[in-house]
Amino acid sequence: MANFRRFRPDDLNKLSKCNLDPLTETYELGFYLQYYAKWPSLFQVAEDQHGNIIGYIMGKVESSPDVYKFSEHYLPWHAHITAVTVAPEARRLGIGKLLTEQLEAAADANNAFFVDLFVRSTNYKAITFYKSMGYSIYRVVKDYYGDHSSDPTQHSEDAYDMRKPMKRDLKKEHIRENGEEFEVDPSDVW
């Protein structure tokens, strides 16, 4: 039922199966096109037999601006997963995993040290999923989200910055085992 391929702008006309799901955010056109313009190989989709998009992943490769080179929070050349989503009808088929693997392959092709992503600290399902794929918590970004997904009385929620080392990180220098113990402010992350 699915094909995996690189995103094409025309796919934006076939997003309803993913983006009408309340858990998937719809961005401005320029946001999607920026990713396609700058990092086309890191924008992958899964489509069904009718051409509907049933999953996609958007990512980028970058490093922190040079001005932060000597900051402890400086990020070397790495890939970042900005968004990943799978339509409700296509879940439980490993599509999220396949899309993530494809982004990781692109990250390796771009010579990235690691792939990172942010996830809500209460999104246990996603955290388990990423852990199963070799990601680990690198640090906790305090109050990263301006709302709370499960507790309406809270006005913010922490994010986990999770990472997976890529081939270039031979000595696994960009991950750590006790990442939950490292807390940073949102202003420390880029």
């Binding site: 702008p9 934006l12 009408l20 320029g30 396609y36 313009a37 509907n52 439980r92």
Partner: protein, 1009 residues
């Protein structure tokens, strides 16, 4: 200058003194003008004059504003390279005029000239960027070519590929003159062919070589080759061991492979498709790629399709089967998705096999390998949300014998063997879906003689499942589907264990059952889609009770499963058909259709909304503002969004795709719909329009030859239909979907109405009134002639009638005739006899309008009066719009006539009296119709204000379906059971009624003049 902040005030040259710098950065323009003038006189440096001119531009005077344009023109006439800082100043100063002046004739060539003189300056790239932002491809190509020449064999490969990409873009752009097109095409092609040759011949391409090195460079080569090369050259390159599709695939890049398969399919090159698919799959088997990386369903489909077109079909299919078998052998290691793709590939092949080798079992004629394969697939995937959608196209291909075996043996056996309650229910749901699907497949019916024993038969078929005489689909089978689905629904509702299991399932099975029941009810109600030239109202021939039952049942389900978007979309359409726009909007809003997805999804709610319920536009926030904002943001620049990002990143295929996408979005039918719907609603309430439709920046490039594109996304609709009939969206829509023809007709009509409505400002008193009057007259005649020709052209296109509702067809026909009538009236001299066409046009208008009025006012005997009227607002809207167009056309003629009489007392230039008389006749007919509509709305309002409506609604819903065989009651009772009886339906009836009242209230405020 940053890419997206080009209007930031430029920094002045460092050599400029501090007082002038300060005044400039403070925006103290009088001081800037004074100081710059003084410096210019002292130093004779033209830069100071440029500062002065740019500062003067910031003041309000028209002459000062023109000074910048004059200065730019002067620079163009000079042969020397301009000063870049001066250009920056002028570009900034003239920022508000840049949309109106042609950049490619002014600043673009100046920037190109500057780059030619300063090719090594870092600012050269800035000039390229500026030209791209204004989408001046001619200047951009020249700059890129200069840069390429300057940095020949540099390690920054982008210069070469910017030049090639821009040469190619120019070659396919309307900006390119026909004379140069060939040259640019060949230039782009030859440069890339040379690059490909270097790569082919090199053992290793270095960054400084002019060969193809990166993935993006290779894609660019194939795109250009496809556009400007020969088929043979493209195919030969596809097989290149370094650049070809399979070598790219081996490197983990699928783009070229997929593009090539699509291209080859359009060329009918099935042998090459077969070859590439075989090669790709072998890469997986040999370990050259991850094994299942190549196992996309699409590759299997293409491989099987190509085999079915081979000379020796059986042998080719055997080869596909053999390769598939190898993958099946390794399937256990595959990801779930690929396992499923392989299972679907087995089905694909089974259904491609010739009918002669279906191998039916001797005991069961219907137990073919196709049935077995579908059964095997179901065993593995029946509990997946997409199970039905995955195989419905296969099931719809079954012969009747296969269908019967499938339902009575395969599905029945699975049901009998399923001990687990929740799995049993999921299978029951699937069974209901298959029953519905098969009821809509023609192979389950046989022809029945149209005359039996001398009696004409009204049912042309006999159902092969139930043996009843029927039309398509079989009513009896549909009723059985409803009864069975309702039973299953009740079974779930009555079993706490099952209710407890539901949250663990992918989807509440009651939702699927409701959709099956709803669809079956709609089919029984005869909702078959709009036949535009027959039924002016979409519900005219639809059984109201069954239709309302379907809506009620689906609405009840929505309360249980509010997050299901498929159900929401279906209900939105059903309520719009019912005339309940405000309630449809309540259902639409939670889906949060915003930002990027609006272009593809908004037509589902907004198309024709002003004709159903103009009152929707009377809210505190303009109804379509989010859409307008979306387009404004997307078209802020003349260039495609994010194009410079793609250039600077070396994403050449992205550049081409972004350009194509941008072109499509600017030609979007949804964009035209947005403007037209808003304008219609604004006129309904006598609101002021912001200029003519062709003054809008969104329409400035649209001409008759522009193909407007419809990209509506119906992918989320719950579509149970077989491929033998139209998909669900086609019969729950008010009329045909958005189309190029409808969008053009609406655009032209708006222009016509703009012409009629135009009034010069009150303080406009031209000095040479006579001269202006003659020019005005010529302009009006030219505009009418253009509009009349264009409208006639679109109306008479063969496919147009099928793309419009009947009222739309009448409306646009009348507008077309009116424009021709006005042209004749205004251009016929009083001294000449009136052309014979004028009375003909007038009578055609009257006759078309009379037919629209009659069909609108005549209620079909089977429908309650009020119900028909409430569901027929679209037709009423067009009776009103047509009448008003006639009235305003007549008023325009009268006004013109009066004005000419006042201007020229001799009466020579006033209109022919017969022309005026014809217009008077039209005016009278229109006035009468408008009174009728007013009365009609008043009557509806009074009717909806009466008491007893809830009872009436429930009676319409459950009361009156007395079929000869009495089955109607059985269906109504079944539906009633699911929705909680009459008590459960009352709340719903109240909402429908309230929405009707909202709609009629909105219509009550609509102006009829």
């Amino acid at each position: 200058m940053s890419s997206y902040a080009r209007y930031a005030r430029p920094a002045l040259k460092n050599s400029v003194d501090v007082p002038l710098q300060t005044a400039f950065s403070d925006g103290n323009w009088p001081t800037v003008i004074r100081l710059a003038d003084k410096r210019f006189k002292t130093f004779k440096d033209p830069y100071y004059e440029a500062i002065k001119i740019s500062a003067e531009f910031q003041l309000d005077g028209t002459a000062e504003k023109c000074a910048v344009l004059v200065a730019i023109d002067a620079l163009l006439k000079q042969k020397s390279a301009p000063d870049l800082d001066t250009l920056e100043l002028y570009e900034w100063a003239a920022r508000d005029f840049l949309e109106d002046i042609d950049y490619s004739d002014t600043l673009g060539p100046l920037r190109a000239r500057w780059v030619k003189a300063n090719p090594k300056s870092p600012a050269a790239v800035q000039c390229l960027q500026s030209c791209l932002e204004f989408w001046d491809l001619v200047s951009a190509q020249q700059i890129a070519a200069t840069l390429d020449k300057t940095y020949l064999n540099s390690s920054d490969r982008r210069y070469m590929f910017w030049s090639v990409t821009l040469t190619f873009l120019l070659s396919v752009s309307p900006q390119c003159s026909e004379a140069s097109r060939k040259v640019y095409s060949l230039l782009a092609l030859r440069q890339l062919e040379r690059a490909a040759e270097i790569t082919e011949k090199s053992t290793k391409v270095e960054a400084t070589d002019r060969g193809l090195l990166t993935e993006e460079e290779i894609y660019l080569y194939f795109r250009v080759l496809l556009a400007h090369g020969t088929k043979d050259a493209y195919i030969i390159s596809l097989y290149s061991s370094k650049l070809g599709a399979l070598s790219q695939l081996k490197a983990g890049r699928k783009v070229l492979f997929w593009e090539a398969l699509d291209v080859l399919e359009t060329w009918g090159k099935w042998d090459i498709i077969s070859d590439l698919c075989r090669g790709a799959l072998n890469l997986g088997l040999e370990g050259a790629t991850p094994t299942f990386y190549v196992c996309d369903l699409r590759i299997w489909k293409k491989f099987a399709l190509a085999a079915s077109k081979a000379a020796n079909e059986e042998s080719a299919l055997s080869e596909v089967k053999a390769i598939l078998k190898k993958f099946i052998g390794m399937k256990t290691k595959a990801n779930e998705m690929y396992k499923k793709n392989i299972s679907l590939a087995s089905l694909e092949i089974a259904f491609r096999l010739p009918a002669t080798i279906l191998n039916p079992s001797p005991d069961h004629k219907g137990l073919t390998s196709r049935v077995v394969q579908v059964g095997l697939f179901l065993e593995n995937y029946f509990d997946r949300l997409s199970a039905f959608d995955d195989i419905k196209d296969f099931v719809a291909q079954f012969t009747f014998e296969e269908s019967k075996t499938f339902m009575e043996h395969v599905v029945a056996t699975m049901l009998a063997q399923s001990a687990d309650k929740s799995k049993h229910i999921i299978l029951k749901v699937l069974e209901c879906k298959f029953r519905y699907l098969l009821a809509t497949c023609p192979q389950t019916l046989s022809h029945h003689p149209s005359v039996v024993d001398g009696q004409k038969q009204d049912k042309p078929y006999q159902c092969r499942f139930c043996a009843n005489l029927t039309s398509l689909p079989c009513e009896h089978c549909l009723k059985q589907v409803i009864i069975e689905a309702v039973d299953t629904h009740k079974q779930i509702a009555g079993d706490p264990e099952l209710i407890g299991v539901i949250p663990k399932l992918d989807r509440d099975p009651r939702l699927d059952l409701a959709i099956v029941i709803g669809n079956a009810l709609l089919k029984l109600a005869s909702l078959r889609g709009q036949v535009s030239d027959v039924a002016p109202s979409p519900l005219r021939d639809v059984n109201p009770a069954l239709y309302l039952q379907a809506v009620l049942l689906l609405d009840t389900q929505l309360k249980e499963t509010p997050s299901d978007t498929g159900l929401r979309l279906l209900l939105v359409k059903l309520y719009l058909l019912l005339g309940c726009a405000s309630y449809a909007y309540q259902i639409w809003i939670p889906m949060d259709v915003k930002r990027t997805i609006q272009d593809a999804l908004s037509p589902i709610f907004f198309d024709r909304i002003s004709t159903i319920s103009p009152g929707m536009f009377q809210g505190s926030r303009p109804l379509m503002e989010p859409l307008r904002t979306y387009y404004s943001n997307s078209f802020r620049d003349s260039c495609p969004l994010r194009i410079w990002d793609a250039f600077s990143s070396g994403s050449y295929s992205s550049i081409l795709d972004l350009t194509e996408y941008d072109s499509g979005l600017r030609r979007s039918c949804t964009l035209m719909m947005t403007q037209v719907e808003e304008r219609r609603a604004t006129r309904c309430y006598g609101g002021k329009l912001d200029g003519g439709i062709d003054d809008s920046p969104f329409t400035e490039d649209i001409v008759d030859g522009t193909t407007l594109v419809n990209k509506t996304d119906y992918g989320s609709f719950p579509n149970l239909e077989s491929f033998h009939g139209p998909p669900i969206q086609d019969f729950v829509r008010l009329g045909p979907e958005l189309s190029n023809q409808r969008a053009h007709l609406a655009f032209l009509t708006e222009q016509y109405l703009d012409l009629l409505a135009f009034k010069p400002p009150k303080d406009y008193k031209p000095a040479k009134a006579n001269e202006v009057a003659i020019k005005d007259r010529n302009y009006i005649l030219e505009t009418l002639s253009r509009l009349s020709n264009s409208l006639t052209e679109f109306i008479h296109q063969k496919e147009t009638a099928a793309l419009l509702t009947a009222p739309e067809m009448t409306y646009y026909t009348v507008i077309s005739l009116l424009s021709a009538g006005l042209l004749t009236s205004l251009s016929t001299s009083r001294a000449d006899p009136v052309p014979k066409t004028l009375p003909l046009l007038s009578s055609s208008i009257r006759s078309a309008f009379a037919s629209l009025r009659t069909s609108f006012l005549t209620t079909p005997s089977a429908l309650p009066d009020t119900y028909y009227s409430l569901t027929n607002m679209h037709a009423m809207a067009y009776v009103r719009d047509t009448a008003l167009a006639m009235k305003h056309s007549a008023a325009f003629v009268f006004g013109f006539h009066e004005k000419e009489l006042a201007r020229d007392r001799s009466g020579k230039s006033s209109l022919h009296k017969e022309a005026v008389a014809e217009m008077k006749a039209l005016d009278a007919v229109a006035a009468k119709a408008l009174v009728e509509i007013k009365r009609h709305i008043q009557k509806l309002k009074e009717s909806l204000g009466e008491g007893g409506w809830l009872d009436r609604m429930l009676e319409w819903t459950f009361g009156a379906d007395e079929d000869a065989d009495g089955d109607g009651d059985e269906v109504a009772k079944a539906v009633s059971d699911v929705v909680g009886g009459h008590a459960g339906a009352e709340e719903w009836a109240g909402k429908v009624l309230e929405s009707w009242r909202d709609g009629v209230k909105g219509w009550g405020m609509v102006k009829m003049e």
